[in-house]
Symmetry: D2
Subunit: 330 residues, 4 copies
């Protein structure tokens, strides 16, 4: 039996055991992509819990960087970056529920798929930025176009990296804010967590009717922290299955895969993101796994695992996880 059978999604989802309808959210059907996630945009798709959606995502630069001579400062126009598919309306979703997003597959899109990496002035972790404001000259602009297939990312003559795709930006809508797609927060958003790939389920808090799911920003691979600010950004065909869990009132996104459960926090400074993630994990262990609060806190001090999502966006993202094997009752 697959771990999926016993996942939270398949145990509590409204759509479990039902008929799975498959929808396509092509570029044409999407039409205009979105640069904010909020309650003010028009839905592009209505689905039922348990349905599958095949999404054509655009890369974070919306294809504007076609060659290594296309400089970001020439081709990109803030704040129109990181285009999102959606919003997808999930039938029955209301404030206080959770939308579950199981990523089935992610494939490079296009006849000769290439990813893009770039050094963008005053963006990234090892440079002065818009918020960490300095008077230093910016780093040089550099663009890399990288061949990608479903096995490898051909980084350079010297280095070939494994293809480990994930979704960088995923969220339901905030209740009243409309937040640009570069910023993560308690709705999800631009978390850049390498764990959010095929085989993972992300749980997103619902704060407006229908949930209003947004998805985009696929990465063919990414290191912890996304240190230069850009991963191997590429367009994909991404297949997700979406379910709805009623009455699960969570403050921050959570994630599950075969090995772990993970709570996710996004904030600055970075320690606040880590505090949020670990606090949410403690509360989760107490509420759903029967741990005493102080036992959970002290035990995570011995076996918690931390993933640094990004520390380059306007807010930074940290996931705190625990192996499922420590959650079982003896």
């Amino acid at each position: 039996m697959s771990w999926l059978e016993t996942s939270i999604m398949n145990t509590l989802g409204v759509g479990r055991g039902g008929k799975t309808v498959t929808h396509e959210l092509t570029e044409a059907k999407q039409g205009k992509y979105h640069y904010t996630m909020g309650p003010y945009s028009d839905p592009v798709l209505h689905i039922k819990p348990g349905d599958r959606v095949i999404v054509e995502t655009r890369d974070a630069f919306e294809g504007a960087i076609k060659t290594e001579q296309d400089m970001p400062t020439q081709k990109l126009k803030m704040p129109f970056l990181n285009p999102q598919n959606g919003p997808i309306m999930i039938e029955g979703a209301e404030k206080g529920d959770v939308v579950a997003v199981y990523i089935e597959t992610m494939a490079p899109r296009g006849p000769n798929p290439r990813g893009t990496c770039a050094m963008i002035p005053e963006f990234g972790a090892l440079t002065g930025t818009y918020y960490t404001a300095t008077l230093n000259d910016p780093l040089p602009e550099v663009v890399r176009k990288i061949n990608v297939d479903e096995q490898f990312v051909y980084w350079s003559e010297r280095v070939t990296l494994p293809y480990k795709p994930h979704i960088g930006t995923l969220s339901c809508s905030p209740e009243i804010d409309s937040i640009n797609s570069l910023t993560p927060d308690n709705h999800g958003g631009n978390m850049d967590l390498p764990d959010m790939g095929p085989g993972s389920i992300t749980y997103l808090p619902v704060r407006s009717p229908g949930g209003r799911l947004f998805i985009g920003d696929a990465h063919a691979c990414q290191g912890d922290g996304e240190v230069c600010g850009v991963a191997v950004e590429y367009p994909t065909v991404t297949t997700i299955r979406v379910d709805l869990i009623k009455g699960w009132n969570i403050e921050w996104p959570r994630l599950e895969n075969e090995e772990v459960i993970m709570a996710i926090g996004s904030a600055r400074p970075l320690e606040d993101a880590a505090r949020i993630a670990y606090k949410e994990l403690v509360l989760w262990m107490v509420k759903n796994y029967g741990f005493d609060k102080w036992d959970a806190y002290m035990m995570l001090s011995q076996c918690g695992k931390v993933r640094l999502g990004n520390f380059v966006d306007p807010k930074y993202t940290v996931g705190a996880a625990i192996s499922k094997k420590y959650l079982a009752l003896k």
Copy 2:
């Protein structure tokens, strides 16, 4: 051939291929343990590069917490915490060199070995602290005594954790500062990095004659971030092999094991620790592995790995690593 044969230590160490003398640094020989790491204390041992030292470390509470009824506020006396063995003088070590510490083994010490975990008021990541000052009532004091053997940490009736020992505090002396053993910085110190266990080599910058090596703070296991502020603290017999690399002028500690090389930064806020670690890793790849600086920076954005040491000490520690397989020349 073991990876050790090709390690930096065995390639560049003064003691490579020489005779290995084994020293014992017992409790008796150590005498008074140290609570600061600096240039003002008397050496307890003089060794040559390549020598082995068998060290009897004390736990971070120096054995003062014997039962679950021994409350930290009663038994501990700041700043006399985290006792360190040392200083050990390494023959020939001078400012601008590196001391390499290969951890061979770590075994629990005593007839019926137990580790200690505790919640200490205003200490830990999920509470107001001395520096993140709040007016909230402190969390309760809780003490856990945990049976430990060389296979398992018997956390609770419900949960048994694997024995994964590491050294929490390791450093040479700063040049002029004498820094309490709770604080990590560019000398090393209280880094609490789970990677610093048997099978790892830590490279420490030398800033005073003889290097003045300090070691202590063994953990039978520890999660990323050491979230409650305390790991499974226990006394050990720890066996290290110490070597000296002349003229390797590094600013921050580094680590090597079979899989990765890792640069280590300690600072607040946490993003500064991560910045230091990644910057040092970029510079290392450029200087010793022939990478172009911007290629290294962008590539780490795709394959860098981050370990959160602690985010509970007066400064926080992050390790940034890259797999050795990406360092090889084709």
Copy 3:
């Protein structure tokens, strides 16, 4: 001659020397107050540069806390806090312009005016918060109702404070984001700067057609940092004069009064807010006052003045100022 005559607003404003029409933005005319500042809400008023607006602001709790027995957790409903008047459309305002807001007067509103202060659980600087997440019990809820007149704030039997009103939240709309009124950023927003009172001019970057000015969150007085998270919140009649400066492309809000010019940054951690403020001030001195960049930077190290707006909101606010007397050419 008043300093106003030589202010930037009166020197460069489109409305200078023209006829000043006075508008009233009463509660009735405002209708629904707003909890986000963005481009998606319906305008309540259209004015011309140079016009005056008399605004009836509500207090930050929208009057929901009427007695010292009204507990915030019972009476307040996140995120519907800090109600804003607006949006006010300024004729001719376009992206790349600046809206200038001169605050003429602020008077308490109502027959028996009282301000409100409160300790709100997990809000404020000396407690764990939503972002600085801890497991401590929250501080107690405490509510204070304080009599206010145009001379004094009658804090307690023991302490009477001077009436020093200011506007806590002021901004034009972001380009695509709609940001809750609790959060400051480069649009302005909830800056909580005590300098933003009668006799000050605030310069706000325009990012959408008409500027879309929002105003609210009046404080009868406030200390630096607004340490408990709440000032003396009260409803007012606030009279502003609004002008438009074409083609002044600023990234962050700025302020001017008789004594100083001030650049304002909002970010976390707090040092980033201070970095932004000082960098913007350096750039301002270079661009508009003829200073060499490094001379300005080094000179501010000798005579710059810093105001801490708040360090309790989702982002913190700092103003960096220089006395006008050091700007004059000899």
Copy 4:
């Protein structure tokens, strides 16, 4: 009657009303200046509570930068910066006491006194630094020599600043650490608070026998935050009166002048320094001025004043103050 008569120092000091002996701590008597503050150095002077000391301080560069052509990277040698006079032993001082330092006068020293300002690579608030590590090229090195007299600082042809001297670095010794003189913490140290000039009394926690007072780092003037990292550094004759308050157990330094009392915190990130300062001020108001804790907290939210000392050192310094007029009992 001068405010001094009713100051805490003159009310509680052991030396009040006694005979004041005047000591001279000349360059010759000092001999070697110190670059760390700790318990391991030899005393240069023994005094009694109430005594006066006339100190010849050296500038922070120890005179090494003589002309505008003397580049910091050539002339300065880390960590041998910011030379301190001391340690001065105060008779009777023990752990748990406070040493009070009243600054009487500060005069420029030398026949043709000049101050020094400099931009030092990777030092200052608007540049990547050792801890906020970036890959950007450093800012240029710039040196300024500035004429100084007891009225003015002759910054440039265009700008003359008032002479407002203060002491940048002041502390008793930590208990076991020896901390470089660039770093402030709970012992005091390199706080760079403009309030610490003539007419102020600083209260320093005693943590080792005799207190071991260190003093240095005079500034002819300094802006809030010391943004470029360097003030107008100059050698002085500084006259202090030193007293001892027995059994006043404070965690962080405090300050008093005619107008205010101020608590001082030093930490990173900057909000932690502000948290410490405000928390200490709340506790002070409760313990010594009879305020209810929550009343003090909420009232400081209305009338607290914040001074940013520096945000350029390894730790940042904030003072939180309240006007003495609000402390009086009616």
